[in-house]
Amino acid sequence: MLRSLLVPRVAARSFKQSSSLPSVVAPASIARLSRRSYATETEQQDLVIIGGGVAGYVAAIKAGQEGLKVTCIEKRGVLGGTCLNVGCIPSKALLNNSHLYHQILHDTKARGIDVGDVKLNLTQMMKSKDTAVAGLTKGVEFLFKKNNVNYVKGTASFTGEHEVKVNLSEGGETSITGKNILIATGSEATPFPGLEIDEKRIVTSTGAIALEKVPETMTVIGGGIIGLEMASVWSRLGAKVTVVEFLGQIGGPGMDAEIAKSAQKILKKQGIEFKVNTKVMGGDASGEKIKLEVEAAKGGKQETLESDVVLVAIGRRPYTAGLGLENIGLETDDKGRMVIDQEYRTKLPHIRVIGDCTFGPMLAHKAEEEAVAAIEYITKGHGHVNYGAIPSVMYTHPEVAWVGQNEQELKASETKYNIGTFPFSANSRAKTNLDTEGMVKILADAETDRILGIHIIGPNAGEMIAEGTLALEYGASSEDVARTCHAHPTLAEAFKEAAMATYSKAVHF
């Protein structure tokens, strides 16, 4: 009885010196007890995956399908990582429903629909978001069972090159050894120096998808995809939103300058205010309103912005804290990314890294591709990810989507190219939908006509970019796309017409 009561406390005790204590218990026995833990030694796994986000869970399922003995360790308590829990999925639920609300409020009369009193029920909107998230995360857990993936809830850290210690969420710890180890610990929002995130008034994207009421005013630091999506949500729900962007264009890296300009114009028309070429000097959250000191990026005009909520959306950084990388001699680069080779191997070749915590864009679909490829490298010695054909989508309305190179990049590399554009205002389906803002822009090599980049702003751009990615993946020419029959009347016809305009002429414009 006494032993069972004493052991857990002794086992959990630290080794800190306390010389004043009498030697009541023999040091040797204490040391023996200290080594004792809750560890239940499991058999060696073929693969241990640290992180159950998009990268980790896809890798786990794929590994299970390939017949590997696989364990996936996740500390959040639910699978799906940032994307499913506090990122892509909940934000899309809010974007879709806030768009519907906004449309019902402002865009029904011309369509012949008279609506009565329209009210926002934010609590229900958040519940709807949570239902979507819960359904998907449980779905992943089901897939784990279906594919024989061993799921461990806890925090993992390296104790050896093949060994991982897990502090279990339910208490105690265990140790897992694996022939291969996959690190997929993802990323976290980059904090803004001088602004303390409380996820209530000063929020990251995590707090921005869970505000309890619609703020009167909101300032978004960072005009990238996350910032603009959240700005759209809260602007549609009634907040007066100002976006502060350090660079001269919104949309973040990769977005074509012409498309970014068009997006800014459309979003401004929707009521979002922009301050580009503007830097945030500091903030003060002590008062009722949060005060942000901003000034022109190149110095000069200063201004104070007051708002109820500030969203910090200046980017994300790799998350590897607590992994114990130092225990096995692994290091990160100057931006915190884990260094890997072409087969995702670290300098310890049985330890691989995929997803946000290593090179490449921090996108869920990129992580998924890497997950499949990494498992194929382990099982078959060969995997495939084309980093030149990874699409990006901004789910505002209209959506913005692109894949491949943009005009700025082609100019910088002195590549000769042809441009073909087609506006949605000339597309029959967009006309019938009364949703005609935007265009499709295709860039193709001037000599070979091979498509180099596709940039879309318009309704359903996020779905349409799949065709562009396929074209890019298979090295299609703009003529290949233009000569492919597209159904009428569809928005996708704008894509075909832009391809026609690239190598010849569009018919309907």
């Binding site: 009885m1 006494l2 009561l5 004493l6 406390r9 002794v10 005790r13 630290s14 080794f15 800190k16 010196q17 306390s18 010389s19 204590l21 009498p22 030697s23 009541v24 218990v25 040091p27 204490i30 040391a31 200290s34 001699g329 680069d333 260094v339 890997i340 080779d341 072409q342 087969e343 995702y344 191997r345 300098k347 310890l348 070749p349 290593t358 090179f359 490449g360 864009p361 078959k380 010695g381 060969h382 495939h384 990810v385 980093y387 070979t448 006509d449 091979r450 074209a471 298979y474 090295g475 299609a476 020419s477 003529e479 290949d480 000569r483």
Partner: protein, 133 residues
Amino acid sequence: MFATKVLRASAAAAHAERTPMIKFLGKRSVPANIDHTPHVHPASPTSELPKDFTSSSTSFSSYRQQAQQHGPLGRSRPADGSIGGHSGHSLGPVTPAKGEYFDRSELPARFHRTPIDLSEIDAIETGGATLVC
């Protein structure tokens, strides 16, 4: 008859004018020869791998040459005065001289006594009674 021939010829000529750039690849298979030696990752911002990357990943012995634990593990490294730079034998005996004693607190932390708190002392002295009463 003649008209059909002309039509067929023109149709063939029209197809010959353009060859789609998309090629049918068929079922994918693992290439016969793959170079598994570490190369820079295609999305890496730098154009080369760190120096310790290529050598250490080939074998445990080459990893050991690079590894550090209280100094370099590799024996080929010249003695540089750092910990591990000299063999233990060359440093002489570790036993204390006659009349000299080591105190436990002078040893590295892992050899120190583990702290125990008063409630535990009480528990032991009372045979566990303080825990259950």
